[in-house]
Assembly symmetry: C2
Homo-oligomer: 189 residues x 2
């Protein structure tokens, strides 16, 4: 997706050897038309897969997932990073380690919204080591739902998470796949 | 907004005397068409106010704020609840106490995305005691930006946050205003 690659080149910032900061349009400030464009592209790729639910994780995944849900006409669930007091009934949960925040988080999804009759598309903004995606896959497994695949905005392929998921037979669609950061340049796949 | 009131009556759940759970369409699972409808209504109310930025807080405010941003054609910033390692430059911050999660959170917005030339519309899903809204108002103040007002999906008027903000001269538009919970019934304004 050239549009996204150009955006990352123009507005993304490299920090050290592995962190790509896209705070100006995806992670902290959102450019709504850009989000709409990438959400529509993810939806297009899973258009024929009879998706019944979009599953993402708070917070950065929500905006893109909402657009995918609008396009495919299905509800969007966002896994919570902390079980709130109002989540009183049963829930699925998984452990996720965030490398950028350096902490473990227990993510939770209420059993009321995901069941064995669902066909799920996981959506997230980033895929690096794959910690968040693996946590969401685990939640789909606990619900005994079927997994259509994963839709990612930016995959940092050199961190291996995407390859591991694909090796396990999971379909992963990434709109931009970064092979390496070299001398301050972003090398796309 | 009758549409929203009916939705809350049909799908909202009361927990005890002060908690309204709207997890099935707004807080955990999102119904995209519903979110689009309420986002458009908030945008309509501030259409003539020359808004330049939408400001919300992760996570539940993001979906509605994105639609408001799409409608008004301006960027959406979501305040982060934890300063990530990638937020290296200066930032505005404020303390927010969550009554449903029973914890203090320091919210942060990068200085790069909000400045004195901005006219800001704050958007959030709930307004109860007003803790999150007050934190976001404080961030607008720190940026020396002007505040057009606040757009809220559900205001629990009996908890006083909205009244306090209005008394301080802030325009607060709430799509549904709840006066009380009485014998398991929701009494709207």
């Amino acid at each position: 997706m050239e549009y996204l690659k150009n955006k990352i080149k123009a507005d993304g910032k490299l920090i050290g050897n592995s962190v790509l900061k896209v705070d100006s349009f995806l992670n902290h400030q959102l450019e709504p038309l850009f989000i709409q464009e990438i959400g529509r592209e993810i939806a297009r790729r899973y258009q024929k897969d009879e998706i019944t639910k979009i599953l993402t994780i708070e917070a950065s995944g929500i905006a893109v997932a909402l657009i995918v849900g609008l396009e495919l006409g299905v509800p969007v669930i966002f896994a919570k990073k902390k079980k709130p007091l109002t989540m009183d009934e049963g829930y699925y949960s998984a452990d996720v380690y965030s490398f950028t925040k350096e902490e473990h988080t227990n993510i939770a999804v209420s059993k009321a919204y995901l069941s064995s009759t669902d066909k799920v598309l996981i959506v997230d903004d980033f895929l690096a080591m794959g910690a968040a995606s693996k946590g969401l896959v685990e939640i789909v497994r606990q619900a005994d739902a079927s997994l259509a695949g994963i839709g990612i905005v930016v995959e940092k392929a050199f961190q291996g998470g995407g390859e591991e998921l694909r090796t396990n037979g999971i379909r992963v669609e990434s709109l931009a796949k970064i092979q390496a950061f070299q001398n301050g340049e972003i090398i796309f796949d």
